[in-house]
């Protein structure tokens, strides 16, 4: 009877040990998971933000390129305008000189 009682107590202690070991293992799983989760958070965040930074840089680069391209069209237009102004001014040069002379001498 005593032997049977002792056997039961031993087995119960073994059962406690099995559960305690499982609890320790569970705590380790959670602790590891916590670390992995923080790394995953950082990695996911950095990947997304890095991608966005690349896109931002690309946006600025393209804006500058487009603006410079427009400028390349705009300046020759101004030069063309100047040519036209000079052509007309040449035709009206004598008229302008005479008019200023009249103004001075009148």
């Amino acid at each position: 009877m005593l032997k049977a009682f002792k056997t039961v107590i031993d087995k119960e202690q073994e059962a406690h040990r099995i559960i305690r070991e499982a609890q320790v293992q569970a705590e380790k799983i959670m602790s590891d998971a916590q670390k992995k989760a923080e790394e995953a958070y950082k990695k996911t965040y950095e990947q997304t933000v890095t991608k966005a930074k690349r896109r931002s840089k690309e946006l600025r680069r393209r804006a500058k390129e487009e603006a410079e391209h427009e400028a390349e069209i705009f300046l020759p237009r101004a030069e063309q305008q100047i040519k036209e102004i000079k052509r007309k001014a040449k035709e009206r040069f004598d008229e302008a000189v005479s008019s200023v002379l009249d103004e001075i001498l009148s």
């Binding site: 559960i19 933000v49 305008q81 102004i85 200023v100």
Partner: protein
């Protein structure tokens, strides 16, 4: 008796192993969920920051476009304007050149006489001194005729005296009171300088009219 104890203890161990397995399984599930939740949080936080980042980049891109466009327009405007200014300057240079030639022409004497009469009239007649350029001192100007013309305009008896000192000028005259307190400088250079803005405006209106 022994067999029932064995069964009982086997049961205790079996239950304990099952409970242990459940504890570990639960921990694994929780770990998996935690990992997924943090990934999701990372994505969400990144998306918030990315939204602001892209908004800022879009706004900067617009500023870059605007700045380049403004600089280009300013540069183009400056180019057009400086060319126009040069064209107007060319007109005034030609005017100076023609004024120089005019001084040597027959047309000049009556023009100079009128300039002197106008200046004398502006001074209100009286005793006046006239200064001319070196070349103009040799012109056959009639002092009495000029003085009479001024007197007619002002109603004041006028005496003109031509100074022996000459002035550096393309033409025109300086008329002054004997004490030099009031001077009318109508040399061509002075007229050009005094009326430069107005003359440039006049020239540009003719040169650049549409």
């Amino acid at each position: 008796m022994e067999s029932s104890v064995q069964k009982f203890t086997d049961r205790i161990l079996k239950d304990a192993r099952e409970e242990a397995k459940a504890i570990v399984t639960q921990a694994e599930k929780s770990a998996e969920m935690l990992l997924e939740n943090r990934k999701q949080s990372g994505r969400q936080k990144a998306e918030e920051d990315v939204y602001a980042l892209l908004k800022r980049a879009e706004s900067e891109a617009e500023i870059i476009k605007g700045r380049v466009a403004t600089e280009t327009r300013r540069e183009a405007g400056w180019l057009v304007l400086s060319n126009k200014e040069q064209l107007v300057t060319n007109v005034l240079d030609e005017v100076k050149c023609r004024l120089g030639k005019l001084q040597k022409s027959k047309r000049y004497t009556p023009i100079l006489e009128r300039i002197i009469i106008n200046a004398g009239t502006a001074l209100g007649g009286g005793r006046l001194e006239v200064m001319l350029s070196k070349d103009d001192l040799a012109l056959p100007l009639k002092t009495d005729t000029l003085a009479k013309a001024i007197a007619r305009e002002t109603g004041v008896e006028t005496h003109l005296k031509f100074s022996k000192k000459s002035v550096e000028a393309l033409g025109g005259s300086i008329v002054k009171t004997p004490d030099s307190k009031v001077i009318v400088d109508n040399t061509f250079e002075a007229i050009l300088k005094r009326r430069e803005k107005e003359l440039r405006f006049k020239a540009s209106r003719i040169l650049f009219q549409e």
